[in-house]
Amino acid sequence: MLPTMAWHRFLDHTSEITLHVGAADWPGLLAEAGRGLAELLLRGAAMAPDGDWRSLEVTAHDRESLLVDWLNEIVYLAETGFWVPQEIEIDEASDAHLKARARGVTVEAAPSLVKAATFHGLHVRHLPDGLEAEVILDV
């Protein structure tokens, strides 16, 4: 079977935004979730990544909380460092720990659209050809 192309889309929610993401495997899903959040933080603006690769590391206590913590790490970096990761490579990913490298864009102003990734309705599901997840983002 060919590896599933990673994908993401945004689903309707009355007041927030649901990020729906899919990939062939767990590292791919984490990377794509990061890219989806970056698209939202940059409000869809096409910006080429610049600068050096940065190392990122997140530890959580299970698979779902790792996904939430990873997205919240990106929210934190964007708001405090004015930096949004775009090219993301996951070097290691277990259920509770990830190591990643990323290149991104430096923005002039803190993108404050997303307050946090939440646990509400959060799921990571196995599909015949990979994994999918839904995360509600508080905006």
Partner: protein, 482 residues
């Protein structure tokens, strides 16, 4: 269940108790500890069953220590964890506290400022006034506030809220008297606020942020209750300013930190939840106490944030109007908060997420100046409609833990709203109504009036139900958005 107790669209048994209230019994779900009440007329009930509002409310009813009923206000809609517009109270002695029951924007709230001048006198200067306010008050993504705090100063704001701003000349004693809890929650402990939260809040004091936050210039269009309006110092035609914002990135990170912390310890307390976003811990536990202290500190940051914005608005008015440019703080009230309150001789943690405290005339926390009428409540509508001034009632204390609605309530997702009308078209619509608009096209499209419920209907329901009493209707004449 008889046909009379079925309500259209609900998969749960539900009985209409009155034209403004529907009850879902505790027996509706095996895990519910208390019944649920939805404050809605027939039309708003249809909205409540159109998304996951009821399911989320019933999830809240499963939390340990829940008391009385859990409530959804007429503006309630689907959120995450708690529904937005949700109210729930938990016994302090053996119940829980839940960061998800407060939300990420801790102490998001509104304050109303009243000018000494009428709209008529200012009509020709509204456009420049709105643009001056937009220049003086950072909004949207990016611009930092003018107030820069070092570490001890940040600690002081977190510990004392608006009270810390008096010596700096950014607040007056009267401002404190007209702010919920005096603008300063004593249970705050800055040490419980993480370095990350402080980092996210850096440079954000005195800023509005994005989303549905705003500064709005209004005129008092209608007075419903002359005596109450007089007590609040409001008169027909008067110019007012409504400020809607919260604790910004600092509060968001406090919630993130403690949802994570509580998610990790719930098994230790044998708490099982239908939704992980309801992560909670016993109030009396170390985790519960730590969150409450951090939440109070974030709430103090929010009170101070709205106070610094008030100072900036006052400077603009004084530059524009000289001695006549006074802006009096009518009141400041939160709508995302957990408060330790006494109800019927019990100490309860009352969680209001997208719901406003609405204490009546006889409650000791109602400011002395308003004891004849009740605590002021402000209900922002949408940019093109209206906002309301109400006062709390003693009756609401028994009906809804002294709580009422907080806005019109979203009825449409941001994506759907943008499909209906572009930001440019929303701007044109508002300008045709004589409303000066300052905001990005994206924000205007997402926050357009058609994305919200009918605020007149929402407010009429809380008025008819006795959850608050209508005093005045305010019409927007200028809006500063993110």
């Amino acid at each position: 269940m008889s046909d009379e107790t079925k309500q259209p669209g609900s998969k749960y048994p539900a009985e209409r108790l009155s034209p403004t209230c529907v009850e879902i019994p505790r027996s509706a779900r095996a895990d519910m500890r208390v019944p649920a009440r939805i404050w809605a007329d027939a039309e708003l009930w249809k909205k409540a069953v159109s998304d996951r509002t009821l399911e989320q409310l019933l999830n809240v009813a499963t939390l340990p220590g829940a008391c009385g009923c859990v409530h959804a206000m007429p503006d309630a809609h689907e959120g995450y964890g708690f529904p937005v517009g949700g109210v729930a109270a938990f016994r302090a002695k053996d119940g829980v506290i839940s960061p998800g029951g407060v939300g990420y924007d801790i102490n998001c709230g509104v304050r109303l400022l009243a000018a000494d001048v009428g709209f008529g006198e200012m009509k020709q200067r509204i456009e420049s006034l709105v643009h001056d306010l937009a220049r003086a008050i950072p909004s949207g993504t990016g611009r930092s506030g003018d107030v820069r705090l070092n570490v001890p100063e940040t600690d002081q704001v977190l510990a004392q809220g608006s009270r810390s701003l008096v010596e700096r000349g950014l607040a007056t004693r009267e401002d404190l008297e007209h702010t919920e809890a005096g603008g300063s929650l004593a249970a705050a402990d800055p040490d419980k606020v993480s370095h990350r939260a402080r980092e996210r809040g850096r440079g954000q004091l005195g800023t509005i942020g994005s989303g549905n936050h705003f500064v709005e210039v209004q005129r008092v269009e209608t007075i419903f209750d002359e005596d109450a309006a007089e007590a609040l110092g409001l008169w027909k035609g008067q110019l007012t300013i409504l400020i809607h914002t919260g604790s910004r990135g600092l509060g968001h990170q406090v919630c993130t930190d403690y949802v994570r912390a509580m998610d990790a310890v719930m098994a230790r307390y044998n708490i099982k939840l239908p939704d992980r976003e309801l992560a909670c811990a016993p109030y009396e536990s170390p985790e519960g106490k730590d969150y409450f202290a951090a939440m109070c500190a974030a709430a103090n940051f929010a009170f101070a944030n709205r106070q610094v914005i008030t100072h900036a608005a006052r400077q603009v008015f004084r530059r524009t109007l000289g001695d006549e440019g006074d802006l009096r703080l009518v009141y400041d009230v939160a709508h995302n908060m957990a408060k330790l309150e006494e109800h019927g001789k019990q100490k309860l943690l009352v969680h209001r997420k997208g719901a406003t405290r609405a204490f009546g005339p006889s409650h000791p926390e109602t400011p002395a100046a308003y004891r004849s009428v009740g605590q002021p409540v402000f209900i922002p509508g949408s940019m093109g409609t209206a906002s309301y001034v109400l006062v709390g009632t003693d009756e609401a204390f028994g009906l809804s833990f002294g709580s009422t609605c907080h806005g019109a309530g979203r009825a449409m997702s941001r994506t759907a709203a943008k499909k209906v009308k572009s930001g440019q078209d929303v701007r044109k619509d508002l300008e045709r109504q004589g409303i000066v608009v300052h905001g990005s096209p994206g924000e205007l499209a997402e926050e357009a009036p058609h994305a919200y419920k009918d605020v007149d209907r929402v407010v009429q329901v809380v008025h008819d139900a006795g959850l608050a009493r209508k005093v005045a209707r305010l019409r927007p004449v200028g809006v500063v958005k993110g």
